[in-house]
Subunit: 303 residues, 2 copies
């Protein structure tokens, strides 16, 4: 049981964490902190948080006093400023974690902002999201069965990592552990690059003189392929920049792959094209089969 | 009312055309022709077709005798061979159309195979598809509200184009007209290129030494982005080769776009990245809004 949890940002991610902890009976008091007074009031009204922490110097100290756990769930561009603001008031018994989509840059920010309190920061990334936001989007089951990746630091004590893990497990999440560098390489490949590619395609088409004609014939395949290009441009600008080295490496590998495919297509090399297409179809089929098996409810006689 | 329709290939596309025509009461007799005896027998059993036309010389003449309309819905690689086989038996009153995803190459095949009967060929492309196939996949409502693009030739008589259009309209489809070249440019951009890009990404990831780790963290965004990489590799090899010139042009434009984005990312130019991402998000939002408005049922007081 956590006595006091402080959450910076009570939108979809932070608010759902709060709701899930409360539903599990895993927390006594939740204090919300945020820049929008309207959002904080709404979160209080909805019962997501029990109190609003104000971001002035003395009031921040009060908000953090006696906290077991602090979750940063505000836009990642604010991470370093929030950490710098809380650093002077961070008591020895408080652990801080975050929900940012990139980790190496967050770790660098945390080292700058927290200095010799860095051992109290356990970086995390819940792999969950929807296209909605704000306190009204928060739900108590967002994290059930979802992965939360913790990218612990060499300085972290195992008991402190476990405190963060236990909170996420109380929300229904499954804990994975990677280094910050592994995390950023993985998500550059399976998330950040696809977003960049989808944005690039829609922008490319939208700029053509006959864009109207093209969109008229775009169908369900195009719709699914470009769904992620409907995501927040500001958020994905920040993620792209935050994970720039890993994203550049993945983009270069992909462009080399396209260069190869282009040569095969130009040479009318049907066998080579089919080899790539088949390998992709096969790999995707295996992946889908595996995730569907993992997501399927257990059969009754196994329970 | 069509007296006799002959369909080559009675899978999803051809079988659904047959079922829709029958449901609309728009045809008296449908003859199916195909290489798989089992599929043809199944189509007959399901009531999709009324008779099986055999592909020998004399029997093909019998199958085509008195036909108003012939639809080619077999794999596109067979198009020229089928047209060459039917050419000697094609009566003056019969119009031939097809359902291929590319049109310039089909027109070239048709000119070679049909010679001075080319005026009887009205190329078409129904924009409908699912991930199932075979006679059992055929449904009577596949084409309702879907676009069918006719890419008429200079040699076609307007009355013959209208005969094909009317048959598709009876299936519930909406007729659009483009030149074969316009058609191929449009679909290279909004369909063929996205397929190639999705196949390329999954293949790229599957070949990495840590592919297992990567797939483990791929989530719903990746799933939607790569859904079209689950399509038939043979079919998309054929489409890629058939529309090679237009697809190369679109791929080159896209790679130029990626090169630009790579430079912006390498320069940490957040404003430039956000400009591209925002433009894409905005264009996609406008497109989705337009298609949702077009697909929405009319409100009762407008009927």
């Amino acid at each position: 049981m956590l006595n006091k949890v402080v959450i910076f940002g009570v939108g979809l991610i932070g608010g759902s964490f709060a709701r899930a902890l409360k539903k599990a009976g895993a927390v006594r008091e939740i204090v919300g902190v945020g820049r929008s007074a309207a959002s904080m009031a709404r979160a209080l009204e909805l019962g997501i948080i029990d109190a609003i922490g104000v971001t002035g110097e003395s009031s921040l100290a009060a908000a953090l006093a006696g906290a077991d756990l602090v979750l940063l769930a505000a836009p990642v561009a604010q991470t370093e400023a929030i950490l710098a603001a809380i650093a002077p008031h961070l008591q020895a018994g408080t652990i801080v974690t975050d929900a940012g989509s990139t980790k190496s840059d967050v770790v660098a920010s945390a080292r700058r902002a927290l200095g010799d309190k860095i051992a109290q920061f356990v970086p995390g990334h819940p792999i969950a999201g929807r296209e909605t936001n704000g306190p009204d989007a928060a739900i108590d089951h967002l994290y059930i069965g979802k992965k939360v990746v913790l990218t612990a630091l060499a300085e972290n004590r195992e008991a402190d990592i476990e405190r963060v893990a236990a909170a996420w497990r109380a929300c229904g999440a499954i804990i994975h552990r990677l280094t910050p560098e592994e995390h950023d390489k993985v998500f550059a490949a399976v998330s950040h690059l696809p977003h960049l590619l989808a944005y690039a395609l829609v922008d490319d088409i939208a700029r053509k003189p006959h864009a109207g004609l093209l969109f008229q014939y775009a169908a369900s395949g195009f719709r699914d392929f470009t769904r992620i290009a409907g995501s927040s441009p500001e958020m994905w600008r920040d993620i792209s920049l935050a994970n720039q080295p890993a994203l550049l490496a993945e983009l270069d590998a992909y462009m080399a792959q396209l260069t190869l495919l282009r040569a095969q297509l130009a040479a009318n090399d049907g066998a080579a094209l089919e080899h790539v297409y088949s390998n992709a179809q096969h790999a995707r089929h295996q992946w889908i089969t595996a995730i569907e098996a993992a997501e399927a409810p257990p059969s009754p006689d196994k329970e």
